[in-house]
Point group: C2
Chain length 262, copies 2
DNA sequence: CGTACGTTTGATCTTTCTCAATAATGGTGG
DNA sequence: CCACCATTATTGAGAAAGATCAAACGTACG
């Protein structure tokens, strides 16, 4: 067990984000049997072609969904953040059609497949909430198809950065009006259908244009609105609960740079 | 009402494809209240941004999911075939993140949202079956990301054709070892993230190489195995029920061309 | 302190897009 | 049944975005 916090609390927060749940339902979720594991970057949570006997919830760290083509190239399909149930897809399907790997070091909680199935099928409100989670994932996936299918390199990268920013902010994972990009430029390339070389050039260009600010892997957004425009980004498809905002990065929180440099 | 066949029979077949259902559950599905409508090509079944009050099931004809970018280009996300519940996504989500339009003339059956919600939440086995349908849709979507993100034009087109062929065959909609492509080359382009001009050239090339045979919109597959190889196609991601076959187009059914021509 | 991995940059090559024009097709009204 | 119109399909030539190949530079970590 990790510290004082219940490993599934992030998951519970996620599940209840869209759906008020009774205390009973909430307790039932927290009472789910689970085993906590620490994992290194690259470790597999799900392997394409396998039948997983348990469903992992990401507790700390980041992971990514991924699928390989016949000639060995890789498409990254989604980035999982803490709280995400990493393979809801596989609760009711018998063969995993893609893999999930850790992006960073982190910890997961494994829940037996049957326990989760039972919970979802016997508690209608929990069922509804979990269905919503999978539908939102599908919505994000649709936007990825659009991103990779219709936008040019600059737009794609800007869009992905916006998506990360908003999703991380929604879970309070933004720092200094920016975030620690958990992926290499090569992984970013595999997520956008580009080459790492080209990703590098585009990042440079975005920075030159004052749309992002990079310091190591930390990325900040000096002009959040402009970046959204470049990336053709609108947050609706994320189906975030507090969607009254209308599309701004929460409180543009006094754009402060660490004055170390430049 | 159309002829002697129950409008929802195709949907029922779909739902029960992966999950044995009790007679009660089956009756409950067929007893769903619904209204049948005839629609012309281009008619909207769902409009992005709207909150649909009912869920349409496609009875006859084809439809497609679609999303527009800010600069007006369109990405086709999926093609719906008869039997598909066209907006399961929207049963439990309040704002549609994409549109669905008819591809051909056809008929749909509209089911009130609440009726379907009730059915899914109160009958665990039906719930499980419907969740499976949405998960399969997500799986297909993932493969589309891969297709558009990692494959070159020739591979993309070949892959999409293979997917159509297998999905149509699974519902007995193949004729003469081929099918009637329900879309223009421009729509095919929007589905693959290419230009209609380029789609045209690639189709020609595929035909020259003896991988497909075109006669009007009817497409046949003289060398089904080779086409799958070119398109890097494996049917696993479709999660078809009878998945013992291993990956061949059902019975290569005595490759017969209409001897009209060439 | 050196090795492995990630980033950055340059030069060149390909695929695919754009623009533009011409031919088929299918459907419609007379 | 035929002429006509609006789509859709096809083809060519030139432009561009992004890929590929190759090398140098940083940085992190054992």
């Amino acid at each position: 067990m990790t510290s004082d916090k219940h490993p599934l609390s992030g998951f519970l927060r996620d599940v209840t984000a869209h759906e008020r749940l009774s205390d009973e339902d909430r307790d039932a979720i927290l009472a789910l049997p689970h085993r906590v594991r620490k994992l290194d970057p690259g470790a597999y949570l799900v392997r394409e072609g396998s039948l997983p006997s348990q469903c992992s919830v990401l507790v700390e760290g980041f992971a990514y969904r991924q699928k390989m083509t016949g000639d060995g190239s890789r498409q990254i399909l989604a980035v999982c953040v803490p709280g995400d149930a990493v393979d809801l897809q596989n609760i009711f399907l018998d063969i995993s059609d893609h893999s999930v790997q850790m992006l960073t070091r982190g910890t997961v909680a494994d829940i037996p497949r049957e326990a989760l199935q039972q919970l979802v099928l016997t508690r209608p409100e929990v069922g509804r909430a979990v269905i919503q989670l999978t539908l939102i994932e599908a919505s994000i996936l649709r936007e990825w198809v659009v991103n990779v299918g219709q936008r040019d390199a600059r737009e794609r990268i800007a869009h992905v950065l916006c998506e990360f920013a908003v999703r991380l902010e929604a879970r309070g994972l933004m720092t200094y009006n920016g975030f620690e990009l958990p992926m290499t430029q090569e992984q970013l390339a595999d997520a956008t259908g580009l080459t790492s070389v080209h990703v590098n050039r585009v990042l440079k260009a975005l920075e030159l244009d004052g749309l992002i600010h990079r310091r190591r892997r930390h990325i900040q957004f000096p002009d959040w609105r402009a970046l959204q425009d470049v990336g053709d980004f609108t947050r609706t498809y994320l189906h975030l609960p507090a969607d009254e905002g209308g599309g701004t990065l929460p409180p543009p929180r006094a754009v402060e740079f660490k004055p170390n440099f430049s």
